[in-house]
Symmetry: C2
Subunit: 221 residues, 2 copies
DNA sequence: CTCAGAACCTAATGTTATTAGGTAAATTGT
DNA sequence: ACAATTTACCTAATAACATTAGGTTCTGAG
């Protein structure tokens, strides 16, 4: 018999226990004893696998996020047009969050605010995920689908900020509704932000940037 | 002599010390001893003023946020047109964050993820702050400045999400650049999301909702 | 001028994270 | 096959905090 020498197995078991407990009760209110008990070992044994509680926290979503990276290219492969890619991106991400709410909770609620997060591999992967959007916006602009004066970084902020906001609220409200509610309407709004200002009747190639027109005298900060 | 009986004075001094330390080193890494020492008293004395460390955390931004509420109406008073109000809102908020980065840091990085936050007075004030936007979008739609099919809640998510994203990054990057960089360009993008789809030459009343047109065969989540 | 209570103190107490030091099973080198 | 290591685990400290007990000094009202 003897269940020793699980190798990587135990590590996974600890991570799984921690993920559930952190997502359930929060990082602070979960004790190391809670986790080790749930994983079926002593506190000290946990420290043979992780440097500490925080190290464990950082380890939880590593696999999930790296899988996201791999899946993203896969999912967008073959889709034509910036808006189509954008839409796929949004639906795909929401689905992935819906499928792994615990990982999402750890990332959004406990990791993103953590001081050491920016030094993490998770962080650099998240950045890559978001950076993908820059290419899409560039493509859209180059193809004339999007406004010629579009700043891809600003566009990304708009897109990512909105997405993160939706996800965060959903997580805080304990996934009590569907992430896809209003998503069509949201995407429609986002899309029109990027579309070129249509110059009277045509639906491609607008000439003038600054064609705002509606607002009048605006005050400055 | 005798500096006893400060009454409310000491409470303020504790809050000020905690605000600085939390913003500097984070909530977890700041000890109650750090705070009480900085405020010039013993740990036990601190507990005569606050129920505990978390209670103290929640108390920090209370004044700031309630001042925001009061100031907002003041600032928007007399401004005509939904876009003008929206712009003022954005610039005003960024300015307030810039002026009180420590409070903003506490709210954005330590409070928003806190489980008890939703039961806080700060939370209900933040909600009121955001709810104000709903009125603006309603107004814009009613006046024909904005698209007739605009969902105010979705519009608010777009606006708030983007704003929060910009602010959060700025805070995480230690305020190393100006919050107002690209703000004009950002506002332009946001505005065009809300503007009615101009039906060939006119600038009011587009008939059909689903008038997306650009994207083709889209997959569904 | 007493007395309630405010504001503060030192010194416990309790809870957690983390470490020391050890044991037995498994693995490795010979 | 069998010493020597290494791995995976343990019990029992230790240490860092948050929080509480219980007391002292000052202040101000009656």
């Amino acid at each position: 018999m003897a269940n020793r020498n699980h190798k990587g197995n135990t590590r996974t078991r600890i991570i799984d226990s921690a993920r559930i407990l952190f997502a359930e009760q929060g990082y602070q209110k979960t004790t190391v004893m809670d986790i080790s008990r749930q994983a079926g070992l002593s506190e000290a044994a946990l420290y043979d696998h992780f440097h500490g509680k925080e190290d464990l926290l950082l380890a939880i979503p590593q696999l999930w996020v790296s899988e996201l990276i791999d899946d993203l290219e896969e999912q967008l492969f073959g889709i034509q047009g910036a808006y189509n890619k954008l839409r796929k991106y949004l639906w795909w991400y929401m689905r992935r969050v819906e499928q792994a709410p615990l990982d999402a909770k750890v990332v959004y609620l406990f990791l993103k605010t953590n001081a050491n997060f920016m030094a993490t591999e998770v962080y650099s992967n998240v950045k890559r995920l978001y950076a993908y959007l820059l290419d899409i916006f560039e493509e859209g602009r180059a193809a004339g689908e999007m406004r010629p004066d579009l700043n891809p970084y600003v566009a990304r902020d708009l897109f990512v900020g909105t997405m993160d906001h939706i996800v965060t609220r959903w997580l805080l409200k304990d996934q009590s509704y569907s992430l896809f509610e209003n998503l069509d309407s949201l995407f429609e709004l986002l899309s029109s932000a990027f579309r070129p200002a249509p110059a009277a009747g045509a639906d491609t190639e607008p000439a003038d940037p600054g064609a705002a027109g509606v607002e009048g005298a605006l005050d400055r900060g």
